[in-house]
Amino acid sequence: TVGCVALDSDGNICAGTSTGGMMNKKFGRIGDSPIIGAGTWADNQTCAVSCTGHGEYFIRLTVARDIAAHMEYKNQILRDAGNAVLEKLTLAGGTGGFIAIDKSGNIIMPFNTSGMFRGYVKSDGEKEIAIFR
């Protein structure tokens, strides 16, 4: 799976996700990536999210939308919302993670499994690329 979230200079955010799904999948199985609210979400009032991981868990927990809901209804900042939802995912037995950005350009990239490829860049020149264990 690959994904991208962005904030532009007009203050608008967007999220996108693309995937080949699970190796050896059968029966036309679809994961969370194309499901709005599960693998992808964006709302200028809260955040833009792109997920990656074991899709069935992300669908059941509506992970992408849940992060935004934590911000919308609990007034949490992006980092707290992301941590809360990752904890829910972990407790449910789901593996994976997500990237998210808010309207102020704050970025989070939490995960609970190995082999995560991540990167970000900001208008002030701050940039990071990492492969996490």
Binding site: C4, N12, C14, T40, G97, R133
Partner: protein, 169 residues
């Protein structure tokens, strides 16, 4: 104005310990290029939507990642691709699922969002829609790489062996 962009290249693909230095460098180079593409779009006043589509199109064309070219194979030995996009300003969204012949699924998802009344199209219908919008269509073989075919064949071999061991009568 202020802008920012983040990308991911999947989860649990391969842990760092199992990757050679050369392989790590290849991944980092591709991620770096993807960031530079997105940065360039946003720096020149492009929208977040344009940045997301440009970056994901690049990653889909890169065979290292499980999306577009280089995606994993289904049990039947073909690739089936999914993609989605959502715009935070309008909360409009587009998605496609289970397609086998659209070169860049993220561009099809964008077309669904921008040029249809729907949110998600799947299978043959999604392909027909993409074709009607002038998107590049390819044979399924375009997506298959040597590495993915080898992984698939090894998996099938293991499955066959397991089935033989599990045969208790």
């Amino acid at each position: 104005g202020k802008y920012a962009l983040a990308i991911h290249g999947g989860a649990g693909v391969m842990s760092r310990e199992r990757m050679s230095e050369d392989m790590q460098k290849r991944y980092i180079d591709k991620l770096d290029k993807a960031l530079r593409i997105g940065d360039s779009v946003l720096k020149t006043g492009g929208t977040s939507r344009e940045a997301v589509v440009s970056v994901i199109t690049y990653l889909e064309d890169c065979p290292l990642f499980n999306a577009g070219k280089g995606a994993v194979l289904t049990s039947e030995g073909r690739t089936e691709l999914d993609a989605s996009i959502m715009d935070g300003e309008t909360r409009n969204a587009g998605a496609i699922a289970g397609v086998t012949d659209i070169k860049n699924p993220i561009q099809a998802a964008l077309k669904v969002m921008e040029e249809s009344e729907h949110v998600m199209l799947s299978g043959d219908g999604a392909s027909e829609f993409a074709r009607s919008k002038g998107l590049t269509m390819v044979k399924n073989s375009y997506f298959k790489t040597r590495e993915r075919l080898d992984s698939f064949q090894n998996l099938k071999k293991r499955e066959k062996e397991q089935a033989r061991i599990d045969k208790h009568g």
